[in-house]
C-alpha cells in the first residue's frame, strides 16, 4: 500500500498513458513471440489500474465503466493483447462489484484485488459441445459441507497461467439443467491447471487463451450468491461488448494515426500536392467517428441503466448492446483496411513506423469473440417482438 499514494494522486487517464507506453514498447515482441504481455501487466499493476472500478471502501477508486473503457481505448492504441487482458479482467470486476454484495468472502477478495493488484481470469468455455456458449455448462460444483470442488474441461482460459484468480461457470449442482449456472472465483493455490491446447493464433497472440483442465477446491461461500443467468444478462454481456468495443476502437485509432502520419509525411515532401491517400484518411476518420459514437452512446445507455434490473433486463437494452458489438467489430476492419491502402507496402511490412499487420490481425478477432453470427441470431430472435425506439432523446 505504500506505493498507492503517489501513483493514485495522478489522474486515471495519465496512469493509463504511462502503462500504455510500456505496452506499446513490447507490443510487437508479444505479438511475434505469442507470449503474455507481462511488462505491460506489471506496468498496469504499478499504476494501480486493476482495482480502479472497485468501490473506495474496499480500497478501489469507484471509477465508472466509461472511465475504465477510456483506459481500454488508451491501452488498445498501444497493444491489443494487453488491452484485451485488462478489459477481460474488468469484466469480472464489474460482475463481482454488483453481484457479490453482502458476501464477506468477496468483500475481502475485492480488497485483495486492490491491495495486491490481482489479475482475474475467466473460464466460461467448455469441451463436450458447449464451446463458447456462455449460458450452458456441463460441469457442476460439488458442495460437501463447507467445501466446494469443481473440475472443468475448459477449452479456453485467457491468460490462465498469468491469472491470480479465475472465475469459473458451472451448473449449480449435478442435477441442474445446463443453463442453471453459478459462477465461482477460485484464487491461485486453490486450483491446478493442466494444459490441453495451445494458443497459436492469427492475432491477439498475447492473450495466451490456452485450454486447461481446471481442478479446484475452495470454500462454499466462493460460489457467487446470484445466479449466473442474472449476472450474464445484466452485466457480463453488456460490459463485455462495451469494453471490447472500446479497445477495438483504440486499435483502429492507432491504425488511423499511422495512416494519417503517412499522408502527412508525403504532404511535407511534396508541398502543394495533395497525397493520393488523403481522401482515404478522411474516409477512415468518418468511420472512426461512427465507431466512437457507437461506443459513447452505449456507455451512456449502460450508465443510465446501471443498478436498475428492469432497464438492464429490457430486450431493447440487449438489442442495443448487441448492435454496438456488431457495428464496432465490423467497422474497425474497414478502417484498418483503409489505412493499409493509405500506407501501402509500408503498412504491409512488419518493421516500419506504419506497420499495420498486428492491428489488422488483432482486429479480426473482434467478429469472432462471441461470434457475430451468434450475436445477430440472438438479436434477430429479439426483433421478432422488440421494436427499436426511434427517439433521439428517449
Amino acid at each position: 500500500m505504500t506505493a498507492a499514494g503517489p501513483v493514485t494522486a495522478m489522474s486515471l487517464p495519465e496512469r493509463a498513458k504511462r502503462a500504455a507506453k510500456v505496452a506499446a514498447k513490447y507490443a510487437d515482441a508479444v505479438d511475434r513471440e505469442g507470449r503474455f504481455p507481462s511488462e505491460a501487466l506489471d506496468a498496469m499493476k504499478a499504476e494501480r489500474l486493476m482495482g480502479v472500478m472497485i468501490k473506495a471502501e474496499l480500497g478501489g477508486e469507484g471509477a465508472s465503466l466509461s472511465e475504465v473503457a477510456d483506459v481500454c481505448v488508451t491501452l488498445g492504441q498501444a497493444c491489443g493483447s494487453s488491452a484485451m487482458v485488462y478489459a477481460m479482467h474488468q469484466i469480472q470486476i464489474a460482475s463481482l462489484n454488483d453481484y457479490a454484495v453482502g458476501s464477506a468472502w468477496y468483500e475481502e477478495f475485492l480488497g485483495r484485488v486492490c491491495d495486491e493488484q490481482l489479475l482475474i481470469g475467466s473460464a466460461t468455455s467448455e469441451a463436450g459441445g458447449i464451446g463458447g456458449n456462455l449460458r450452458n455448462s456441463i460441469c457442476a460444483v460439488d458442495v460437501v459441507g463447507d467445501v466446494v470442488r469443481l473440475e472443468k474441461d475448459a477449452t479456453v482460459i485467457s491468460y490462465g497461467e498469468a491469472s491470480d484468480a479465475i472465475m469459473v461457470t458451472s451448473r449449480r449442482n449435478a442435477d441442474a439443467a445446463p443453463s442453471d449456472q453459478v459462477s465461482t472465483v477460485f484464487v491461485k493455490g486453490q486450483y491446478t491447471l493442466e494444459k490441453t491446447t495451445d494458443w497459436d493464433t492469427l492475432g491477439m497472440r498475447g492473450t495466451c487463451s490456452e485450454g486447461f483442465i481446471f481442478r479446484a477446491e475452495g470454500a462454499k461461500e466462493q460460489i457467487l450468491p446470484r445466479p449466473f443467468a442474472e449476472i450474464a444478462a445484466q452485466s457480463m454481456l453488456a460490459v463485455s461488448h462495451l469494453l471490447w468495443s472500446a479497445l477495438w476502437y483504440g486499435i483502429a485509432y492507432d491504425a488511423f494515426a499511422r495512416g494519417q502520419s503517412f499522408v502527412k509525411a508525403a504532404a511535407r515532401k511534396n508541398p502543394g500536392q495533395t497525397p493520393p491517400g488523403a481522401l482515404r484518411v478522411a474516409e477512415a476518420a468518418n468511420l472512426l467517428q461512427q465507431v466512437k459514437g457507437n461506443v459513447v452512446s452505449g456507455l451512456k445507455q449502460f450508465e443510465a441503466a446501471k443498478g436498475n434490473p428492469d432497464a438492464l433486463n429490457a430486450m431493447s437494452f440487449a438489442v442495443a448492446m448487441n448492435n454496438i458489438k456488431i457495428g464496432t467489430s465490423q467497422t474497425i476492419l474497414t478502417v484498418i483496411n483503409h489505412c493499409m491502402l493509405i500506407c501501402g507496402i509500408a503498412g504491409y511490412k512488419n518493421d516500419t513506423p506504419y506497420s499495420l499487420g498486428r492491428h489488422l490481425r488483432d482486429a479480426h478477432s473482434a467478429q469472432l469473440m462471441i461470434s457475430n453470427d451468434r450475436v445477430l441470431g440472438n438479436t434477430s430472435t429479439m426483433l421478432l417482438v422488440n421494436k427499436p425506439d426511434p427517439s433521439l432523446v428517449g
Binding site: R172, A177, S179, A229, N313, A314, S316, L384, V385
Partner: protein, 82 residues
C-alpha cells in the same frame, strides 16, 4: 390462464423437464428456458390471446415464472381491452 400458459410453455418452451414438474412460482430460467424459447413462447401467447407485448414487458422478469407470465398477459389483456 395458468392452464393456457402451461400448455403453451409445454409446446414452445423447449424445457428439459416436464412442465408438470414446475411450480407456478418456480424460476423458468433455472428450469432451462432459453431466451430463444422465451421469445417463441411470447409469440405463441400473442397469437393465442390476440395481444401484443408492449416494450416495458419485454424483459426477463415477465417470463421468469408461470405466475409472472400469467400476470403479464392479464395486464396486457386489461390494457388492450380498455
Amino acid at each position: 390462464m395458468h392452464d393456457v400458459v402451461r400448455q403453451l410453455l409445454a409446446k414452445h418452451g423447449s424445457l428439459p423437464v416436464s412442465v408438470d414438474e414446475i411450480a407456478n412460482n418456480a424460476d423458468l430460467y433455472d428450469a432451462g428456458l432459453s431466451s430463444f424459447a422465451s421469445v417463441q413462447l411470447m409469440l405463441a401467447l400473442e397469437e393465442h390471446f390476440d395481444v401484443e407485448f408492449p416494450e416495458h414487458l419485454l424483459n426477463r422478469k415477465s417470463f421468469s415464472s408461470i405466475d409472472a407470465i400469467a400476470a403479464a398477459v392479464s395486464e396486457i389483456a386489461d390494457d388492450q381491452a380498455a
